[in-house]
């Protein structure tokens, strides 16, 4: 059927778009059914962001079938493409582009078959079009349908790369604000979450996690727990202890008794919460040059003496910024189901897991290592959980569930974490410290720039090493060594150094990343990774420089930005907020306005933000104006929802959030200790999308986190004349900054 696959053994395989490159069989992606419906499979998972609807929209567009005929299948390791993680705002790029090509090819295959059956000439074939799944000739005759020809064997071939997806001009569904397919179920309270699953014979589990990061279980009397009403059994493996009960409530009650019965040795291994930046700078680090630009005609640089710079009419600048550890703080607790099958001798032979993990294909090998089973004997299926913003407790909970289910072969066990677990045991977003230095030449242009970022690694995801990173793995009687988080290579978006490379045209610059090798608190990927603090630092620093130079912050940015798309979003956000006239009217006491910009990952979405704040005893963000360019927009309302949601989440991070701990324990274990933004505190958010239908989609989920953070800090500086260089910009921090202010 396809000449370039049959004799391709000696050729280099054609490069295919997105995840089709590594999942090349069309049958991995879609299947037609006699009723005209189409099953669409993706390796990307719905984390609350609504990606299933967008991918369904893309498939319906390329196939020319009604959106209602698309059945999105949840990702599983049993069937469908392996697309690794759902992370980094890559789903439309990875899965969307793959589906677009796979569907275009499937459409060609079906049209060719229909034409062959009807004996059409090549020109008649070329004139065929598809309308709602029906093949229509130039004479408006229906000559076939997908449903009538449905045959799985037709798609059991590799993609050829020959079929051409529709051009932007041919799109009818792309760019439409299609309502989310899962929205009715959500507002009706349907049982779609993993927490709602009930399998035949299901039992319920809880784990009494160690009360501090390095706690070791000394003793626990399990007899009393086993005798509690509804308790089926208890499990102990080293410092891992859990209980299995007949009902969820009985499990929750038994957990309280189990936790009270356990005695732990708790070494004090945590740093001073109020000196985390100093801690990061004082640790052994793995330092790398993340990037640099050298100039043949260097202007005044950081390398020359102060006197030489002064003689050249240049000024130098230096400042440090920081953020604390941040919690994922999902509204729903982590949850998982597991069922183990054992042979006659009691050996586990097969494991099934249901999880809200971001990466089912990454979770599986780590579970295999913990269990000592071949990965092929473990099936992992995705079921939606509450909103996920990175590597949270989902994978750890899946491991907990399996360790419990091992004790009751044949019975599924649903394991649920508590709120305390969620806020204290799940990986955190890493604390960061950023040191910036710059030189501005006599013309007011930045002639040299240096960025140093100090942080734990931002990635400790499962499935990437020969040692499992799942929380319980280090607790077992035969423990696995604790791993230290790494940073992914910059080509994959980087970690701590994400957006530590300038988006601006500086004559020369260099960026160093210093990854701490001690990890007192587990850190891993939290939405936008290092970009949040790096952009906060860079965009605050630019404002500090502009102020000292007496230049408007917008003008100062545009002076260093030649990228037209960057300039367009900055100008758009400024226009939305009437930036030039922001100080024209007399301002209320405490009112301030700030601006910031970044291109996410330096390769992704462009985003500029203007923030209006009111700052007295505490900071209140009143309004955000956001302009974003995410390339081709498949679903504008989906993009807006991501941009708005990301912005509001960032306001919460910036104003309120910091993981609290003493020298032994994480002490922020409830919403009372880890407050997040409430309805009455949420700002008005205006979003303008700069549409680029001819450009590829760039992802929207993380574009705002850096610019919103910096725009708020810049607005506070505008309001109070106080430069807040450390997040959160809380009432306490404001007071301390005011007391330390020399004026």
């Amino acid at each position: 059927m396809s000449s370039n696959t049959s004799d391709s053994s000696s050729k280099i395989p054609v490069v295919l778009p997105g995840s089709l490159q590594t999942n090349r069989r069309l049958s991995q992606w879609l299947a037609f059914h006699a009723d005209g419906c189409v099953t669409v499979r993706t390796g990307k998972v719905d984390l609350g962001q609504g990606i299933s609807t967008v991918l369904a929209q893309i498939a319906a567009e390329e196939l020319d079938v009604d959106l209602a005929c698309i059945r999105m299948e949840r990702a599983s390791t049993v069937q469908g493409p392996n697309e690794g993680m759902t992370a980094g705002s890559m789903s439309v790029q990875d899965s969307g582009s793959a589906l677009r090509q796979a569907c275009a090819e499937a459409r060609e295959i079906y049209l060719n078959l229909a034409a062959l059956q009807r004996g059409l000439t090549p020109s008649q074939r070329a004139e065929l079009r598809v309308v709602d799944g029906e093949f229509v000739s130039s004479a408006d005759e229906i000559i076939g349908r997908y449903g009538a020809l449905a045959d799985d064997a037709l798609l059991d071939i590799e993609a050829s790369g020959i079929a051409k997806p529709k051009s932007a001009a041919e799109h009818t569904l792309t760019g439409q604000a299609v309502p989310r397919l899962d929205m009715p179920g959500k507002v009706l309270g349907q049982a779609d979450f993993i927490h709602d699953m009930v399998l035949p014979g299901q039992l319920y589990g809880r784990v009494a996690h160690p009360p501090s990061p390095r706690a070791v279980l000394l003793e626990v009397a399990l007899d009393g727990i086993n005798a509690l009403p509804g308790v089926v059994t208890t499990v102990r493996d080293g410092s891992f202890i859990g209980v299995i009960a007949k009902t969820d409530y009985a499990a929750a009650q038994a957990l309280k008794k189990l936790a009270a019965a356990a005695r732990w040795d708790e070494p004090a291994t945590l740093p001073d919460m109020h000196a985390v930046s100093e801690f990061l700078r004082s640790q052994p680090v793995d330092s790398t040059l993340a990037g640099e630009k050298k100039s043949d005609t260097p202007g005044p640089s950081l390398a020359i003496s102060d006197a030489s710079r002064a003689a050249a009419g240049a000024q130098s600048f230096k400042a440090s910024y920081a953020r604390p550890f941040l919690a994922h703080a999902s509204i729903g607790p982590s949850c998982a189901l597991a069922r183990c099958e054992a042979d006659a001798s009691g050996e586990i032979t097969r494991v099934e897991v249901w999880t809200h993990s971001q990466g089912i294909y990454n979770l599986r090998p780590d579970l295999a290592l913990v269990l000592g089973l071949p990965a092929a004997q473990i099936a992992v299926r995705h079921v939606p959980g509450a909103g996920c913003y990175g590597h949270n407790g989902a994978d750890d909970a899946a491991c907990d569930a399996v360790l419990l289910a091992r004790a009751v072969p044949g019975r599924p066990v649903q394991l649920q974490w508590t709120r305390e677990d969620e806020l204290s045991c799940a990986p955190f977003g890493a604390a960061m410290a950023v040191d910036l230095q710059a030189v501005v030449d006599a013309d007011g242009r930045i002639s040299d720039w240096q960025h140093d970022v100090w942080s734990n690694g931002h990635s400790m995801r499962p499935g990437r090493s020969s040692t499992p990173v799942l929380y319980a793995a280090a607790l077992l009687e035969k423990p696995f060594a604790r791993q230290v988080a790494i940073n992914m290579p910059l080509a994959n978006g980087g970690g701590a150094e994400r957006n530590a490379l300038p988006s601006y045209d500086f004559a020369q610059w260099r960026t160093h990343s210093h990854r701490a090798l001690a990890m007192p608190l587990r850190t891993s990927s939290l939405r936008s990774l290092g970009a949040h603090c790096n952009v906060f630092a860079v965009e605050s620093f630019l404002d500090e420089m502009a102020e000292q130079l007496g230049v408007d912050p917008l003008v100062f940015r545009l002076r260093h930005l030649s990228d037209e798309r960057g300039r367009a979003v900055l100008n758009a956000a400024a226009a939305m907020a009437d930036w030039p006239n922001r100080h024209a009217v007399e301002r209320r006491e405490g009112a301030g306005i700030g601006i910031a910009f970044a291109r996410y990952k330096n390769t992704g979405a462009y985003c500029a933000v203007v923030a209006a704040v009111h700052a007295e005893a505490e900071v209140r963000v009143e309004q955000l104006w956001i302009a974003a360019d995410v390339g081709l927009v498949v679903n504008p309302d989906g993009v807006r929802n991501q941009i708005e949601g990301g912005a509001i989440q960032t306001v919460s991070w910036v104003l309120k959030e910091a993981v609290q701990f003493d020298r032994t324990r994480v002490t922020s274990r409830s919403w009372a200790d880890y407050p997040i933004l409430r309805f009455s505190e949420v700002p008005k958010v205006d979003v303008q999308l700069v549409s680029r239908p001819g450009d590829k989609s760039l992802g929207a989920g993380e574009a705002t986190h850096g610019p919103v953070a910096a725009a708020i800090a810049n607005a506070v500086a505008d309001a109070l004349g106080l430069r807040m260089r450390q997040m959160p910009l809380s009432a306490d921090a404001l007071l301390q900054a005011a007391l330390a202010d020399p004026r």
């Binding site: 929205m183 969820d248 929750a252 509204i331 729903g332 909103g387 409830s670 009372a672 309805f679």
Partner: protein, 158 residues
């Protein structure tokens, strides 16, 4: 921990359960009655995910013992509307696409319905105040507020 028969009126239906009377209502709804739309978020009455209406007042069901619900009218998310007869609030939430993950939405809809029950034409500030006990991590707040105000204009009643 004696079991006893507790009479309940849930979403207009009279029913009874055999349970220990201090069991938090959320577990009875989810486990005994299969009403999974009420979500458990924190179990400490701090997040709002599990709210239900008790005689028209929105309360956290994780902190409501079963005995306190006896002989009172309990309304859960399942009692607001059905797929073919959506509550005006549910309709407005769909129109405004007022959610991302949706875990917090059941409790928020219940509190919004309770608000409209006693204050059919609330101001935006009143809506925000009524929803302030509810946490949303995805940042869908403004869409939800818009949806509640929209439902109020079409005369939503509980």
């Amino acid at each position: 921990m004696a079991l006893r028969t507790v009479n309940l009126k849930i979403n207009g239906q009279v029913t009874s359960v055999e349970a220990e009377e201090n069991t938090p209502l959320v577990y009875v709804l989810r486990e005994e009655l299969g009403l999974k739309g009420t979500r458990l978020g924190c179990g400490q009455s701090q997040c709002g995910a599990c709210h239900v209406m008790l005689d028209g007042i929105s309360v956290p069901s994780c902190d409501t013992p079963l005995w306190a619900a006896e002989n009172k009218a309990v309304v859960t998310i399942e009692g607001l509307g059905k797929p073919d007869a959506l509550h005006a609030l549910q309709q407005a939430f769909i129109e405004e696409q007022a959610a991302q993950c949706g875990y917090c939405v059941s409790g928020i809809l219940v509190s919004a319905a309770a608000l409209l029950g006693k204050c059919p034409q609330p101001s935006e500030a009143q809506v925000r105040e009524a929803l302030d006990a509810h946490l949303c991590r995805c940042g869908a707040h403004n869409r939800m507020v818009r949806a509640v105000l929209k439902a109020a204009t079409v005369g939503a009643v509980t």
